[in-house]
């Protein structure tokens, strides 16, 4: 604390009294007092009023003019006759006063109280300003997070729009490619058919038949390729309905019969009646590709197609067995890959894009089914497509076919 008193004896008296409990500095007038306060703000200023160079009230005014000294309490030493003055000073920035003459005890008490108050104020002040800093920091953090979120949102929206555009681009590309491949096929097959109609069944017109067979083959290739691209683009979805799996297999056998006959193969179908709830497009894809493959790879003998529903009605099983060259076990994984073909021993080119089994696998994935391969080199192969059936639907269709 700082004692500002021009009377040397009084100054000493006060300083010595306070020195017991506090660190005390002294000044002989207001100016010196101000200098010392500015140099090192004390916890308390004890000041006389009447002093040379700068009076006590001038000192107080100087102190209160400086915001950083706002919490430094001032204890005024006042003469009895200074009633009005000390009351005024209380209003202008002094916290307490002592009327001369005063005792050591009173001096110590009042000084002690003011110090305690100041310390408490300082602690509170520090606390508040710390909290203010914390709040500001928090506010900045929130602002940063908000900006971060806004940026992420904008990015996510961009990504979503990109994905949508890409998906639409893929879809329109598929439409375009499909159209570009099918249009010439249409022109070719129409003309060939017109030729046949106009000129009858003359042997010279076998060419027209061949054009049509090639056209149909080409159409199947295009269909397969487009289906594969669609499957890869994630556009293949199961659309189940009531379908008789056996009728479906018989249709396929009828369609591929001529192809088998052309190669001197027998095509057997073992199927009764199997109404079930599944996607006929996907089932057709699976069975047609398996039968087509079997016929392609079998040089002589037969291809057999079996349709079974398991005893507990949980699975539909299509089994295609051929008397072809067989597939070595180490190739079983490979042949399911797109564009993979295992040529036969004489390296004869097997027509097709090599996508058939990859497509079968895709379609079975969508149906929740699986493909089982069994094959012996030199004897033949058996491919079994297993498709799980939805039980609730089965109940529904069993109701529609009593005794079925």
């Amino acid at each position: 604390m700082l004692v500002v008193e021009d009377n040397p004896e009084l100054n000493r008296f006060i300083a010595e009294t306070l020195a017991d409990a506090h660190a005390v500095d002294v000044a002989m007038d207001g100016r010196e007092g101000l200098e010392k306060v500015l140099e090192s703000p004390p916890d308390l200023v004890v000041t006389d009023i009447m002093m040379p160079r700068m009076s006590g009230d001038e000192l107080i005014a100087e102190l209160r003019r400086r915001p950083h000294l706002a919490t430094v309490p001032v204890l005024v030493l006042s003469a009895k006759a200074d009633d009005e003055l000390r009351v005024r000073l209380l209003g202008e920035g002094a916290q307490d006063y002592l009327v001369k003459p005063f005792s050591r005890a009173e001096l110590l008490a009042r000084a002690g109280n003011l110090i305690k108050l100041k310390r408490a104020t300082d602690v509170l002040q520090a606390e508040v300003s710390q909290q203010q800093q914390d709040i500001e920091a928090l506010a900045r953090e929130v602002a940063t997070r908000k900006r971060g979120l806004a940026a992420s949102l904008a990015e996510a929206e961009l990504a979503r729009d990109e994905a949508r555009r890409a998906s639409e681009a893929k879809a329109s590309f598929l439409r375009l490619v499909s159209h570009e491949l099918r249009a010439p096929l249409q022109g070719i097959t129409l003309q060939a058919e017109l030729l046949k109609r106009k000129l009858g069944d003359r042997p010279e017109l076998r060419g027209a038949d061949r054009i049509l067979i090639a056209g149909r083959h080409m159409t199947r290739l295009v269909d397969g390729l487009l289906e594969y691209v669609r499957a890869e683009a994630g556009r293949l979805e199961a659309q189940p309905e009531l379908v008789d799996a056996c009728d479906l297999v018989r249709d396929i056998a009828e369609e591929l019969g001529p192809m088998a006959a052309n190669q001197g193969l027998k095509l057997h179908v073992e199927a009764g009646s199997a109404p079930c709830w599944s996607d006929p497009r996907l089932l057709r894809l699976v069975v047609a590709n398996l039968v087509d493959n079997a016929i392609k790879y079998t040089l002589d003998g037969s291809v057999q197609v079996q349709v079974q529903v398991t005893a507990d009605d949980s699975e539909l099983r299509f089994t295609v067995t051929d008397t072809g060259p067989g597939i070595p076990r180490e190739h079983w994984e490979r042949i399911l890959q797109p564009f993979e073909q295992v040529g036969d021993l004489r390296h004869k080119h097997i027509s097709g894009t090599g996508l058939g089994l990859a497509l079968v696998k895709r379609a079975l994935d969508v149906l929740g089914g699986r493909l089982e391969i069994d094959s012996t080199v030199g004897q033949g192969s058996r491919f079994t497509a297993v498709v799980p059936l939805e039980h609730e639907r089965k109940e529904a269709e069993r109701g529609a076919h009593p005794g079925g």
Binding site: L174, R175, L176, S178, H179, E180, L181, R182, A183, P184, L185, Q186, G187, I188, T189, L190, Q191, E193, L194, R197, K198, G215, T219, L226, R230, R235
Partner: protein
Amino acid sequence: MARILVVEDDLLIRESMVALFEDEGHAVDSAVDGQDALDWLTGGGAPDLILLDLMMPRVDGWEFLARRGEFPQLAGVPVIVVSGGLTDTTVPIEGAALVLKKPVSIDDLLDAVAALI
């Protein structure tokens, strides 16, 4: 005997269809794209049935179907869409009585026309 309008931008397909239906004894008009077809209708053309391609320049099949209401003579006239660009022909198209996927055989074409005339 009916008046058939073939709307198809592919030369070979268009000529084949015209030849086919003329052989069958129908009166056939043709348009090279949707715009050509609209112009023909504006000029007073009145078909009993329309064979419509979808992917064509200037005015495509979709737009043609959307604008068929502008022509009172088209009320009740069946439109058979024959398209190469559709992946799923089981999805109905507004304004079309039937959707066929290219390449379609002559038998299927004739059956479709016979069923709708």
